[in-house]
Symmetry: C2
Subunit: 195 residues, 2 copies
């Protein structure tokens, strides 16, 4: 059975960077924006649509937005996207060992793949520093952007998986990248995979 | 400044064993039952009382029990014990580098010591296996004992610290001892401390 490292992460915690570095060290692929393109290709949905809806609800108003835009059966285009993502992630894990960042891969693969499930987080201050350094300033305060993104990821995760995003018990390992540093996180995860 | 490893843990996850092995490997003391004795000595409260009240509310009925036995100022003997534990833990961390298991040490030391904060957990099945192996069978199903103990630790922690027990974001590292194994957890924690 292929082995998959799934990385869930708070926005700005460096989870994606950690995923890419772990994958590079292990010589396996890392799926993140690549995955978005694959989803687009398969579903016929536009890349822009997927980028805004793929992992979180479009606004921060919690369940309300997940429940919006549904037809009379309670079905929405976001459910189609969930289904497509689900199938692609399942196929990727069947095809090869890899790292998958975000997209509820930990939940999707829990019964079908040999996963190491990881959660990456950091303090609001450290994350604010990081996003300003990487993405620059914006009109909105960085702390507000972070809390808003986290809230959306959390609500999306809870809606589709019925379990709690960021609860330590849901992951094999959870790491504070702000305190431990990106490099240390990469080593710990890669060592766990190798041994 | 002394460096302290604080270990919070789900009941039956092997957190205490991990704490002791980490301490042995690093050549520093580990405080757990020793700490209870110190508390008893200082507070004049009986060892039996402390063992039943020191870290969790005496029954599983959530806040009700934490709020019970209070005088008209809302003060209880458990608050005295909290104060005593708080002082002892603060003094231990001032005196030497050490490992402290449980007792909200992560919260108590957050502004006064250089801490590596750890949370240890495992699936209900793995923990049930472990407690039956270590403590034997009892009239109560092991799963029920576990959930009850977790609930009490959680309510105690939340009452005194106002933060969430088991939320990954509250710890530098959280590990699933059932999946990773006790030995692997010990190595990761000791390595983090040494580097």
């Amino acid at each position: 059975m292929n082995r998959v490292i799934t990385i869930s992460r708070q926005f700005g915690s460096g989870g994606r960077t950690i995923g890419k570095e772990v994958a590079a060290r292990l010589g396996i692929p890392c799926y993140d924006s690549e995955l978005i393109l694959k989803i687009a290709e398969k579903s016929g949905l536009s890349k822009e649509y997927i980028e805004s809806y793929g992992e979180h609800t479009p606004s921060s108003s919690w369940w309300g937005n997940i429940l919006a835009d549904r037809d009379y059966n309670g079905h929405s285009i976001r459910d189609d996207l969930w289904r497509v993502q689900h199938d692609i992630i399942t196929e990727l894990a069947e095809k090869e060992s890899c790292v998958i960042v975000g997209r509820c891969a930990d939940y999707i693969l829990k019964d079908t793949a040999d996963c190491l499930t990881v959660f990456i987080h950091a303090s609001l201050e450290k994350r604010a520093e990081r996003i300003v350094r990487l993405y620059g300033e914006s009109d909105e305060k960085p702390e507000k952007r972070l809390l808003d993104k986290d809230k959306r990821r959390k609500s999306y995760y809870q809606f589709y998986t019925d379990s709690e995003w960021g609860n330590a018990a849901n992951y094999h390992i959870a790491l504070d990248s702000g305190e431990l540093g990106i490099g240390r996180c990469v080593s710990i995860i890669a060592d766990l995979y190798e041994k």
